[in-house]
Amino acid sequence: MKHKLFAKTFLLVGCLLASLAAHAQLAIEITGAGANRIPVAIARFDGENALPAAVSDVVRGDLQRSGLFSLIETGPQALGADSIPDLGNFRVRGADAMLVGSVTALDAKRYEVRFRLFDTQRQAELGALALRMSASQHRATGHRVADFVYEKLTGLPGVFSTRIAYVVKSGKRYQLQIADADGENPQTALASREPIISPAWSPDGSKLAYVSFEAKKPVVYIHSLATGLRSVVANFKGSNSAPAWSPDGERLAVVLTKDGQSQLYTVNADGSGVRRIASSSGIDTEPAWSSDGSWIYFTSDRGGSPQLYRVAPDGSNLQRISFSGSYNVTPRPSPDNRSLTFVTRNGGRFQVAVMDLASRQVTILTDTERDESPSFAPNGRMILYATEVGGRGVLAAVSSDGRVKQKLSVQAADVREPAWGPLPR
């Protein structure tokens, strides 16, 4: 209670330094798993008892939640990075791979974590790495170890060290929060009594663009996460919304109504150089840049119903992408630009779907009914989105093949508008 009161006092002053109270933690529930999970043995790291929590527990949690791995029991005994594990034995117990590691104190504050990954079938080392950290970085270090294991065993970069942004609404209070991809360590970037929507990560992960209604109308801001400094990107007469970063982080696509209806423009990140890139007699909105910079995908009802379109950033080469159904919105290209996730109305249900851009084949991925705001993980393997369970907003994630499903919820609050951040640089 004391902590709460303290936070309230800060709020009144107007400068909130305190991070979030623990009750706002995202809790993750897994409701599906991959068909062919890789069995992996993660031994306890030698010396990890000296840390506030075990690094190997973080690694196990990450790999398990991904839905792509099954964990083979290794027993209570720690296996150091220099130990020679009995790989044949772990092979017999079902493990395809085995991780061993050591935590060594370098001085009073610094630790070194060394680890080694083995292929139990070929009885060969797949790789080894040493990371240095302070005791409080045990979770971040565990995520980096898990990223290493994930990449060695799947060929794709792991996303355990990435962050997600989302908006929590509790009562009449809106908070734009940033958390680790596992929901831990939530921090509030912006607190407001007016709605906040459409957060978008800058490609380098240092900033968020978003729409805030604090001026009684939608205005687009850029917010630097390290400093909390904000600047206005678009505050023209009418509504300003739907920011999307160009891959080089220098421009944003935005939707403005200054010249009439909701239309697409690009603008420099400092708010200068506004340029209209498309014009229609209807609504154009929800732009998203492809990672190669060649397309801006968007939603338009120029054909009578909301459908998916794309246009080159210079306004040329406009194409309609979706043709089936009467409501297809929020197109978001995959990091490899081969597919598109979006929300489609299917009967009365709004569901996350994925379209293969070469074949234009559409697959509905979810079994929820009120899906919104899908965004790809930076390795393209998962799609994070918002939905509703029991009348409350929750975040959910689904693998791009639809097999792995996760729910992320915050106790007694609505969570919405998720955006998956980029890989750390």
Binding site: C15, A189, I197, A215, K216, G228, V232, P306, T330, V343
Partner: protein, 181 residues
């Protein structure tokens, strides 16, 4: 929008000690800066129109007098429709007359949409409603620069149940006058 400029200034004032710098651009509103990891937006209290300028005060008092048609500020729309229903034409005319008689008074129209579907698409649908109401006023001679039409999309529902009655209540455009936004 003269009044809107006050908002960032107030926020800066409330964030005293956090610092603020103006932004040079053709856009409305200044940038807000503070040097903490968490930025807190303090919504300024609703500004009240200050009496003291004789006739003006009593004219503006009409806006909130429940007996005056000017106190009615909401226009409702049919599902998937952005056309002003004829039953609201008299109300639009009353407000147009008021704006024409009071060229120093400005209006902010906030359009709204029901909660189904994409938030950004619903923001655009709310904009179509506020634009329809703005056109209804400008057709009666109200100058464009006296009115700003914006959208709140599905973000500020007046009614929060998932029912047809509720959704109808939220398919709405509201008229706010100087001092109310």
């Amino acid at each position: 929008m003269r009044k809107l400029l006050v908002v960032p200034a107030l926020i800066s004032a409330l964030l005293a000690g956090c610092g603020s710098t103006p932004m040079s651009s053709d856009q409305a509103g200044a940038s807000v800066e503070d040097r903490n990891a968490t930025t807190t937006v303090q919504t300024p209290p609703v500004q009240t129109v200050t009496p003291g300028d004789g006739g003006n005060a009593s004219r503006l008092a009409e806006l909130t007098n429940p007996a005056s048609p000017l106190s009615k500020r909401s226009v409702y729309f049919d599902f998937d429709s952005f056309v002003l229903r004829p039953e609201f034409q008299p109300l639009v005319e009353v407000h147009a007359r008021f704006l024409l008689a009071n060229p120093d008074v400005r209006m902010l129209i906030q359009g709204n949409a029901d909660e189904r579907g994409s938030r950004e698409y619903n923001l655009a649908l709310g904009q179509k409603r506020s634009d329809a109401l703005r056109r209804g006023l400008t057709l009666l001679g109200v100058p464009e620069d006296q009115i700003e039409s914006v959208s709140l999309g599905e973000e500020k529902p007046r009614c929060v149940d998932s029912s047809e009655e509720c959704w109808a209540e939220n398919r709405r455009a509201d008229m706010l006058y100087s001092g109310e936004f």
